[in-house]
């Protein structure tokens, strides 16, 4: 079996790698020759285990700019991520263009085409036109654990032109490599399932952040509450119950924006969903509110650890760290992140190669991404490197007792010292 992937963004790289890891030959197509040149050597997105799979499956992969290679495939995925703007609004033109080009190449051939790209309800039917063999398959990858989720999905959602249609045997053969329950539905149901998943996650994030904020001020401990909530079958062990700095990464924000646009068109009451966006903004600004409470002389030189919107990814889309950097314009900042790169350094905001370099001589240190390597920092060494004592650690990466023992002043979303 040979499977084509058109579009070599995060989605295409991850899915082509896990397909090859299942022993299936893959063709990865991208319009950008530079990208293909890089992909011949290594993946170009940062995702745990992707490098290892890339190396282990090199003999099963062809990377090319030539779309006609898809003619040799039994199945082709459209695997280009849909870009979004700062408001989460999708630009699906690239997916529409790639799909049309693929249809032109395939001509009358009925090789199954499966769209993995994130489409709003109604789009698959519009793109497919009268091609009933087009399938929309929902991706539910998570940055940082995308390989794990793609290799071991809890379920696979398949949208067909008509939910009574049978899945093509060639697509079925691919699905069987992943040993997961398959939910077949029509295009619109599948498209809305994708959005529904993310809106449920947005509700958990919003409610968790709101309740954790209340817990801090009334003397309750959210760390004691969360396990009791997880044990409730209606909430569940995997629920998003860790307080954070609002929504980031782009995916949930995209589906919030898509919902708002649909709600406006179809006159659906949108108040509850809109409140998630407002809540996210409020919690993203938690660090800047802390900074406003700190005297200006303590802001003389600031160290920031973490730029990515969460650990194990290089993505900085809507990262709370970017909002803090914007707030600290005019302050001397030294920033470190193990993977993510600052797009543009300024005279005052500089990215450095180690956490020590960032911390040395700083008046104040902020941990903006809970990378596991930061949890291993020796806090006595940190104190000695710093010129001040204030540590803002929203995610409580550092141990509360170790912080106290080192004589540092600590502010986190859990509690303050």
């Amino acid at each position: 079996m040979k499977v084509g992937f058109v579009g070599a963004s995060h989605l295409g790289q991850v899915y082509s790698a896990v397909t090859a890891a299942a022993g299936i030959e893959v063709v990865l197509v991208d319009e950008d020759p530079k990208s293909i040149d890089d992909l011949l050597r290594h993946p170009t997105v940062s995702e745990p285990e992707l490098d290892v799979l890339w190396r282990a499956t090199s003999t099963l992969r062809v990377c090319t700019t030539d779309l006609s290679e898809c003619l040799k495939c039994d199945l082709v995925f459209i695997s280009q991520d849909v870009p979004t703007d700062e408001y989460g609004r999708s630009d699906t033109s690239v997916v529409e263009r790639l799909t049309r080009k693929l249809f032109d190449v395939l001509g009358e051939l009925t090789i199954p085409v499966v769209i993995l790209s994130q489409l709003a309800p109604g789009m698959t039917r519009r793109i497919a036109e009268d091609r009933r063999h087009i399938v929309y398959q929902v991706e539910t990858l998570v940055f940082g654990i995308a390989v794990e989720r793609a290799r071991h999905p809890e379920r696979i959602i398949v949208g067909m032109c008509d939910s009574s249609m049978k899945i093509d045997a060639r697509h079925e053969a691919w699905l069987q490599a992943f040993h997961a329950p398959i939910y077949v539905m029509n295009y619109e149901s599948a498209e809305l399932t994708k959005i529904s998943v993310n809106l449920f996650l947005a509700s958990s994030v919003s409610i968790t952040n709101t309740l954790a904020e209340l817990a801090r001020v009334i003397g309750a401990d959210w760390d004691e509450i969360a396990p009791a909530l997880r044990a409730d079958q209606r909430i569940g062990p995997h629920a998003y119950l860790t307080p954070g700095l609002g929504l980031a990464g782009g995916n949930i924000e995209r589906d919030l924006a898509t919902f708002m646009s649909l709600a406006k068109n179809y006159e659906v009451e949108e108040g509850v969903i809109d409140s998630f966006r407002r809540s996210s903004q409020h919690h993203r600004d938690w660090v800047t509110r802390q900074l406003d409470e700190i005297s200006s002389q303590d802001l003389g030189k600031v160290a920031i650890l973490g730029l990515a919107y969460k650990p194990d990814t290089a993505s900085t889309k809507n990262s709370a760290a970017l909002a803090v950097l914007k707030h600290l314009r005019g302050t001397n900042v030294r920033l470190h992140d193990p993977v993510a790169k600052l797009e543009e350094e300024t005279a005052r905001i500089v990215q450095v190669a180690s956490w020590r370099e960032a911390a040395r001589g700083s008046k104040l240190l902020i941990v903006m991404t809970p990378w596991s390597e930061y949890a291993r920092i020796d806090l006595v060494e940190l104190r000695d490197l710093m010129d001040g004592k204030i540590v803002i650690d929203p995610y409580a990466v550092f141990d509360k007792h170790a912080v106290a023992a080192a004589g540092l002043q600590w502010r986190s979303l859990r509690s303050n010292i």
């Binding site: 794990e148 071991h152 044990a231 062990p237």
Partner: protein
């Protein structure tokens, strides 16, 4: 003998499954994920445990708060070369654990470590493996006992269930033969009697141990003894197929003296509400799920 640690039960630990691509490791990973743990799966594609740098690489993946399930093995171990590779694999894991120590280590061992006996085998029965496979597991247990963390050795008896790639003599082979319309061949008259445990039970017990954290060793079995003939007849009956049960003369003595009962008192003490799957139900489950 397993004893339960007195500690606060927590669901916050991540479970790192070494050998998640295999029959037992895969089933455990799936079950603990469904039970709410964050799971990190390590399989051969991600890490070759026999590679020179494997211990360091594995250590880099282990967090101190992890529970580690060590299910990787070259099984069944039938040759001296395979034994050597299996031991090398244990050394890799042991070295990694010495560098980066997890909270809890679960080793997937086997009842093959026991000396054959006409009495039900309990965790305190004498160790005396009769095969290289048993010797491998026995050495593996002894080596892992030096790990600087709490260790449990799960000793499952003959496991059956969907996903077993070995198709060895027993329920899985009988089911697949009946499904393809082929006759079942029993050695001798299929009269040897033994315990068979369903893969679902192995995964369920593993998941429950990760919460309760007993240490020592623990038999994982159904507590029920059935002959291969009984199992073959049940399989044919469940499938309602017109296949025959044929007999093939034995070319050696019956394994384990023809009788392999496993005592599960320890399992019942640890998990009083645990109801093992009876072979008839397990076969029905397999018949219903095969190929789906």
């Amino acid at each position: 003998m397993a004893k339960s640690a007195e500690q606060h039960l927590t669901m916050t630990n991540r479970v790192l499954v070494i050998g998640a691509g295999g029959f037992v490791g895969g089933a455990i990973a799936k079950k603990v994920a469904a039970d709410g743990y964050e799971v990190k799966r390590i399989d051969r594609m991600l890490l070759d445990l026999l590679a020179p740098s494997a211990a360091d690489q594995l250590a880099g993946l282990i967090r101190s708060s992890d529970c580690v399930v060590f299910a990787a093995a070259e099984a069944p171990c039938k040759t001296p070369e395979s034994l050597q590779r299996n031991i090398a694999l244990v050394f890799t894991v042991l070295q990694a654990i010495q560098i980066s120590t997890p909270t809890y280590l679960m080793n997937i061992s086997s009842d093959a470590v026991y000396l054959d006996s006409a009495m039900p085998l309990s965790e305190s029965s004498p160790i005396g493996p009769a095969s290289l496979h048993g010797a491998m597991h026995s050495a593996r247990e002894a080596l892992l006992n030096s790990a600087p963390t709490s260790v449990i050795h799960l000793r499952p008896t003959l496991i059956y269930g969907f996903g077993d790639p070995h198709n060895g003599y027993g329920p899985n082979q009988f089911i697949s033969r009946v499904r393809s319309g082929a006759d079942i061949h029993l050695f001798g008259n299929g009269e040897e009697r033994r315990d068979h445990v369903h893969i679902g039970d192995v995964a369920r017990i593993a998941s429950r141990c990760l919460l309760k954290r007993p240490t020592g060793s623990l038999n994982v079995a159904s507590g029920e003894v059935k002959s291969f003939r009984e199992i073959a007849e049940l399989t044919v009956k469940l499938h309602d197929e017109k296949v025959q049960i044929r007999v093939t003369p034995r070319n050696g003595p019956m394994p384990h003296g023809g009788y392999r009962p496993i005592a599960i008192d320890q399992l019942r003490r640890l998990f009083p509400d645990f109801m093992p799957i009876k072979v008839l139900d397990g076969l029905a489950l397999e018949v219903a799920s095969y190929g789906s």
